[in-house]
Subunit: 225 residues, 2 copies
Amino acid sequence: MRATLTHAIEDYLKTIYKIQSAHERASTNALAEALEITPASVTGMIQKLAATTPPLVVYEKHRGVRLTAEGEEIALEIVRHHRLLELFLHQILGYSWDKVHAEADRLEHVISEEFEAKIAEVLGDPSHDPHGDPIPQLDLSLPPASRKPLNELRPGQRAAIQRVHSADPEFLCHLEALGLMPNIELVVLDHSPFDGVLTVRIGENEQGQVLGPRITEQIFVDIVP
Amino acid sequence: MRATLTHAIEDYLKTIYKIQSAHERASTNALAEALEITPASVTGMIQKLAATTPPLVVYEKHRGVRLTAEGEEIALEIVRHHRLLELFLHQILGYSWDKVHAEADRLEHVISEEFEAKIAEVLGDPSHDPHGDPIPQLDLSLPPASRKPLNELRPGQRAAIQRVHSADPEFLCHLEALGLMPNIELVVLDHSPFDGVLTVRIGENEQGQVLGPRITEQIFVDIVP
DNA sequence: ATCCATATTTAGTCTAACCTAAATCCCCGT
DNA sequence: ACGGGGATTTAGGTTAGACTAAATATGGAT
């Protein structure tokens, strides 16, 4: 029978979607970690998600899950809510970009389609959230996102930050302090092998900034010729 | 032990608060009707609310409940969320006034104190929601509200609508079509005894409008000398 | 090819919040 | 003063979604 979309189910689908974007399938453990619950609980839920009609995920024992078309549609709807909300909180309510995630995580399950439509309108049908993540459009199509992490650049290359893949407030505050935000341009001045540390000039700054891979791995860029 | 504030508990406290504003104590049945659940379920919950430390309600078997100071504080906090949200949806997002209630009912349990502060700021620390209901201030004090229903006015009296006590979208649409909204002035032209029907001139209108008691009971006014 | 660490599942519990059916209480009218 | 009807409570059951402990499967290293 058709599943009732509880908040928990929506969270599972959204999380499976995110994990799936990086790896082929979402493993029980990866889900458990992302959702901050035990693997045993995850198994129970994904079995339920696979048993609905239509199924929301394809589940094979010991091999994790993949979203079905139906599951993905719901996941994208939630992601759209989430990212629209993030931008709304930032632009209209003046939230700092490190605080938007937690608030959006709770609101995303609760807002109506009308709310979604109203904020999309106020924001002018935006394509990206404050972290640079693409916002699924009304038809749930997704603007393409850069897959080029900053740590792959080498001296002499110039790039514009496209998105910052993190929800950790402390990390985001640190980046903001360094001036590392979407649309900022930078030039790689130096690359040190083995430890992967980069020296970059950020925006209009005078001197270079040293960045370790823990940071540069999370920043995706568009290369500027 | 200190109660965790679930959505259900918040809804109970808010509803008890509303019933209490009209009657002395909130009866099990009145709560069940307002919450659209069975009286048996209500009994279970109010026993729980009375058993927390500190207790959120005072409960005497067969005699309903009253909020304690602690319970009232939480109720007022939720009412503040609700009414700020209603105004926010109406003013900032352009919701029609009949749609704000349902949306606010879901959002009120989910927004953070920061969200509350941000919308209060955007709205300029407002004192009344779109229906004219008073918004509890930050210290949870409540601006006074008119207790004078329109149906008590008599020919010749002039009044300004202060608030409309209903959450029913159809009813609110009807009122809007008639031009009956907070801050609108009207004059009573005629009163017909026994059936309580009033004829009033609304705002700048030329001809009078006939209103039955089902309508005039729900409209509270300030008399204009 | 086997073994073991890690990942996953099963089985059995728990809590919150609802439900129905049946018992009981309260109070109003005679 | 009492009987009865409406209000309320009790008893017992359901569902969603989490948990722990124990059993089992998988796959990489030997």
